[in-house]
Subunit: 472 residues, 4 copies
């Protein structure tokens, strides 16, 4: 019997997590907490609550405000809640993969929300299936619940710790059981996860601090790499699931470059401050003779501030943003290819006409969108375009939760800088250096994962073929 | 940790099944097949197809024509399909329980659709959970897939047969694997399941023969109690999963009394013919002095034909039916209690005014609806109402797939016939005798399950507490 | 400038009306009133209420229970309400034509709901447009509001009466103004309209008495042809808008033959009783040698009762009805032509196999559906089929509100009875005679419009070209 | 009879217009044209097309991408199209007011889309109603169509010109007739309207030039105040509907201050450039001792550039914007009042903590939102907040299409600057001077309407009571 190629690894997506324990308005706080992190995932949203006896769950495809309304939040009764938003990766929208994932085992109900990606999920899944397990989703997260339910872990003194030790890869996790929430971060701290405190002393957990701001919680500290934090009726308790010697920080530098909200602190540093610093560094590394600096909205705005400050070039505005562009709209006729760019950005022709521009971009992935934007500036009459990218060229796949396209579709791996410049049709092009990027980071360079830029993976990945695995 | 009371037994619902193998229009035939059996389940509909490599599934809450459209059917590619409709039981509407239920195991993908109810699902589930299994639904059907995936069965020469032998209760099942469909019927044949042949020689499977008529298939024979029928590229093959000695037919007599479409043959007998016979028998057992006979639409129309024929009383029409009443409509204000009845039935006042009526009903469950209908006739001026019920009083719960209310809510167990007559406010009342009912059936009386009337269960049910289990 | 062909005449549809004055639950009663008359129109539903100061309106395409819910009914505040359901005519579904149609004029707000069809709407519309009027719908109803607002009528002592005298054709109308409801019936009484009284003495108006039953109102009397009935704070008052000499009853006989609910009394006679009588008459006119009589569901069931009673042939059941067939479902592939029939009706093969059947049908329009049904019986093994139609052949168009297809598409005008029999593939065929049909009616034959059968139009129609007018 | 208070004047909203003639992809271009102007109206969108014989229309509540899809655009056949987007004013969402408004008159079909507000619509409506006209909407736009259809205009040599001369107020209009499009601008040019040319020589009309950019059209010129531009098979032609002496430009300065997209040129000047100049002027008029300048996103970003350039203070970023905030979300519980602000803006705490900020805002209306934003900065630790508003205080109502709240709800009319500063809880507050604002505008000061700031209305408004008129 032919068996479809199965792999959990296709779920390579950003996600945002939020948890709260001990509040009668738990579902509402969870809603606000994931809403504040909507930039971490726009495909699906879900919340699971506990009233200490029963778990309740609501999760669907859509934005947080589409998935939930007052009635639904009211029906999610309970004093504890975890929430999850998931990033859209083209074609993989699938209601059945919506999180939190909720199941029943011999030990009762449990649900989990996951940010990150396991690199040994396929091995676990194969082993579990060999023992008779059935899988209803294509997500690596289901593996975690199977492991938790299996007697060899369930019957140990700390089943959760035991299972966490078996997982390899990136995992910031929030579990909810009828009586408690458990927050876990892998021993590399690849994805962010932090603890906040509400005015009444109750604790919340979030991927980013912007979610703490939304619910008026004060930042307490990050969940440490290798730590399990428990929220229950007795307050907060903590334990490490690995020895201190096994903790090897490898924080995803791309969270700072692009992903985190500028208002958030992740890995002990403000994302806005990191980006301003990267812009300054970029100005030092790659100055340009120009009339002014413009960012590509919205992500490069912080880096453009830094570039402007350091270079002394005034900062202008070249694009306006449409806030109304949702899912791509299919035209009846085949229209020209740059329509998609124009439907998201308008160029301020008057501002760029005849001007020599430094254009600051946070990163370049495939290059096609950047090329469209540069073309729009050129068409509007820009005299010179000096593209400055506030991160190094992206050369390698991420196995830890970022869904970059196949390396074959990245613009950088197969081209020299000059060839990229030529492809993007700009007058000059410079990327931030690897060292320059790390110089902007607060922690020691060894504490970051820069694999997408450098190819140095903090964890050995033995099954790169997973990248090509079919989705079912 | 408090554990929620878990039981599979709450899924006590009628369902309809349809399967087809070897047709390029498989999804479309499956759609027609379940559409024709919509009376067996109006809560949810689903289809799972195989293109010999991959299974695809679409299932949602709603009527068949609401769940599917041409685009969805087109997307369900493949030459094989199984479909399922499910009955609505108040409050238990739950998308996640929609069937066919599809999973992946070590042996690839599989999906199943179930009509019936297992009585040992809780035991299996407990054992499976003890071994680490996790459950994502509250349906007993998920148990079957776990058993199939478990190595102790998967590694036998006939895993399906091995699992079927472990199931106790009512189960007509349709499985789809990438390369085949398997149709199974429990050793009692509690629920119907039949085989049909299309003009091109391909086989279909259906709960009722009315689905064969819809797709222009010729009736071949019933799937036998204890039989597994396989449809694959090599055609149809068959095997018994129990010894002949263990086959103990116990066909649900309620399929004949109420549930099957009058045009369907189930258990080797036409439902319409059974009901006409029951009406004749009723007329012999309980004649009445009246002007004419009217049925309660629509189910009792066949029995009324029989009563009229045997009694010589002309058959009239007292009610007209609204075809537009969907889910109950909630009025802003509290209106009188019989509105619900009136929104489904109009009384033809002119036809019943001043008349002595024999009203034929197929069965009486709680009595409240019947009471409303009798009240409407009385209000319209009926002079005498002689209610004749074409089945015995319902006294006992069904554990095999019919969702009767708690015995405490049935009208019959706690009342004498005279007390029921008084409650229903009719001039006379008679039920068909148990023997009279069985006399209408074609097979020997021992071949039927009459437990809801008689309390004689064909299978010992050891966990009656299941009836009270909470749904999660 | 090319001008599109404009005509009001394409709106040839059945509709149902309901009005109530002086009840705090007016919108709810209106909902029930039009729900009960859903058989008169399944395309669109609407309600307009008055709180004595302001009119509020909600109208949409869809069934009554789809268009309204508790929230909408609550928002339709006021003590007075009129409601409307409209029949679906293929391709003319158009939200903007939904009724009641509500406008503001110099005299304030007003709304109207219309059952029937005007034959001089085009002339009025042309005259109004010549004076500068603009039209937002393609409905003849908008003409009525324009006439009411025009100074030449508005400034008379009885503007409504003046306008009604200018209308030619079929019109049962319900108007709502902030302070009153006015119910009008054309001088021929072509469409039904009756008055009912609630237990608290408040009055309601409805097309059919089945709506009175639904709201527990007692039948008072019909609105007379040529009468205007006013419901207001001062109760009910009445006036004639034409002289008694101009009242020429011409009640649509097709309401009795087919359209009214069997439980309704229209034109002073119960529809069920008429149909039973027509079946008896048919049996006398066209006896048949057969085993039993079956009706084509559901409309011919009453006539079949009559045929059975008179002929002495027992009445059986040949078809079961699906209640789940909504709008036609489009299959991905081109399936055989009789699928549509099968999706609505199942034949009880066992009941008809080898039998000689009298099949009673209420009427035959195009013949294609009847042909499909007869084919299904034949396929199920019927030995002989004697089709008996409880009305004469339909030969002529209706200009008064029934949307028959073009005469060229009717089966009868171009064929002899024998040719129709041949086309329908039945063993014998007989229609009820014209005299026979009228003999079943309670009033004098002159009081009915039988134009679709006889071609005798009670009103001269001068613009038959309207039939071909395009819809915009 | 009590008559509801009727007024057209409540429709005081921004809108965006787009028209195109002579293109087979007319509906698609119209879609893109109104999509690009979505910032001018998010409540409803509509398109009306002509195939030279018949007009077709689709208009609904919702964003452009929600109202239209490929199928709908395909169904809007024709070579000519006009489109319309409408601004949301709380509580007045009403499908029936959706534009383009399409009607039929004696002269055939026509449709119109309107940006602006008539100040003599009530008078015209009263006169029209007195002559018998009926109105189906509460929009002033319906008046225009009535006037066009009325014989006294329709029978003149230039009906459109004649009607335009009768209108008083702000009106940029697009008409579509089967054979042509007509674009009109009132004699004050209160609202923008411009002409563009596609690569193939076909003309388009749009409110703002950003719509020309979207469809790749080149800007030709503005429609002149008092001009009618006709697009037809014979190309573009033009005429004035008033004498040159009556043309009195009074361009709405608020289009420059706030409303137009920064990339658009309106009234012959780029909106971005105007705003940068206003920021510069503001820096000169009201310097501040601070660490850096931050804009309130997104509208004040251009003015902040100017303030930064002129003051030499660096430009920072204090807020990040959520792109996911749609219609306000109702929480089950009553949450603190500034939640709404936080759901739209995140403060970058790290950037503002301990800093002295110049915060640039484009304008202040009620003050409540600004107050919330200032509070958020304060809470995040800002040391000093110097609020600089790039326009004068709003003191008076607009009768020409901007829906300001009642003057009683504006923050400025009843407070001194010091009192406003106190209310907003900032350390210093300055508004741009009236002269300063006009100095940034390219045209002579007399050519602008500054009524909302100055009270100098370019047109005498005689019915200020209209402001209080009820909506029906």
């Amino acid at each position: 019997m032919a068996r479809p190629q199965i792999s959990d690894s296709r779920i390579r997506e950003y996600c945002g997590l939020f948890g709260v324990f001990g509040r009668s308005d738990a579902s509402e706080l969870a809603f606000l907490g994931i809403y504040a992190q909507q930039h971490r995932g726009q495909e699906a949203a879900g919340i699971c609550t506990s009233d200490s006896r029963i778990l309740r769950r609501h999760a669907k495809l859509g934005l947080t405000t589409q998935v939930f309304d007052g009635d639904v939040l009211n029906s999610l009764k309970g004093h504890a809640a975890i929430g999850h938003v998931r990033y859209s990766t083209t074609g993989s929208c699938n209601e059945i993969n919506s999180q939190p994932l909720m199941v029943t085992s011999a030990h009762g109900q449990m649900a989990v929300a996951h940010n990150g990606n396991l690199v040994n999920a396929a091995e676990h899944r194969n082993a579990l299936e060999a023992r008779g397990a059935i899988f209803q989703t294509s997500s690596d997260t289901e593996v975690i619940l199977h492991l938790l339910a299996s007697p060899e872990h369930a019957n140990t003194s700390d089943p959760l710790g035991a299972v966490m030790r078996e997982l390899s890869g990136a995992f910031s996790l929030l579990f909810i059981f009828p009586d408690r929430i458990e927050a876990v971060r892998d021993r590399h701290g690849l994805r962010p996860l932090c603890i906040g405190k509400l005015a009444d002393g109750k604790f919340v957990i979030a991927s980013e601090t912007c979610a703490l701001d939304m619910v008026d919680a004060e930042y307490v500290r990050d969940v440490a790499p290798g730590e399990i934090v428990t929220l229950s009726e007795t307050g907060m308790s903590t334990r490490m699931f690995v020895d201190a010697s096994e903790v090897k920080p490898a924080h995803c530098i791309f969270e700072h470059v692009y992903f985190a909200d500028p208002s958030s602190n992740v890995f002990g540093q403000n994302a806005h401050a990191f980006r301003v610093a990267s812009g300054r560094q970029l100005a030092r590394e790659a100055p340009a003779n120009a009339d002014f600096v413009i960012p590509v909205p919205n992500c490069a705005r912080c880096a453009a501030i830094g570039y402007s400050e350091e270079s002394g070039l005034p900062r202008g505005r070249g694009f306006t943003t449409s806030h109304y562009a949702g899912r791509s709209f299919i035209m009846p006729t085949q229209r020209e290819r740059d329509l998609a760019v124009r439907m998201k950005l308008n160029v301020i022709r008057e501002a760029v006409q005849g001007k020599r521009l430094v254009v600051v971009e946070d990163s370049v992935v495939r290059g096609t969108t950047t090329r469209g934007k540069m073309g729009a500036l050129r068409k509007a009459g820009a005299k010179e375009i000096h593209l400055r990218v506030a991160s190094p060229p992206i050369m390698h796949p991420c196995y830890f939760g970022i869904d970059f396209p196949d390396p074959s579709k990245l613009v950088a791996p197969t081209r020299t800088i000059e060839e990229i410049r030529d492809y993007l049709e700009v007058d000059s092009l410079a990327y931030l250096s690897h060292e320059g990027m790390l110089a902007c980071a607060k922690q020691h360079a060894d504490n970051y994962c820069t694999a997408c830029f450098s190819g140095n993976y903090p964890i050995q990945v033995t099954t790169p073929q997973d990248k090509l695995a079919l989705e079912r």
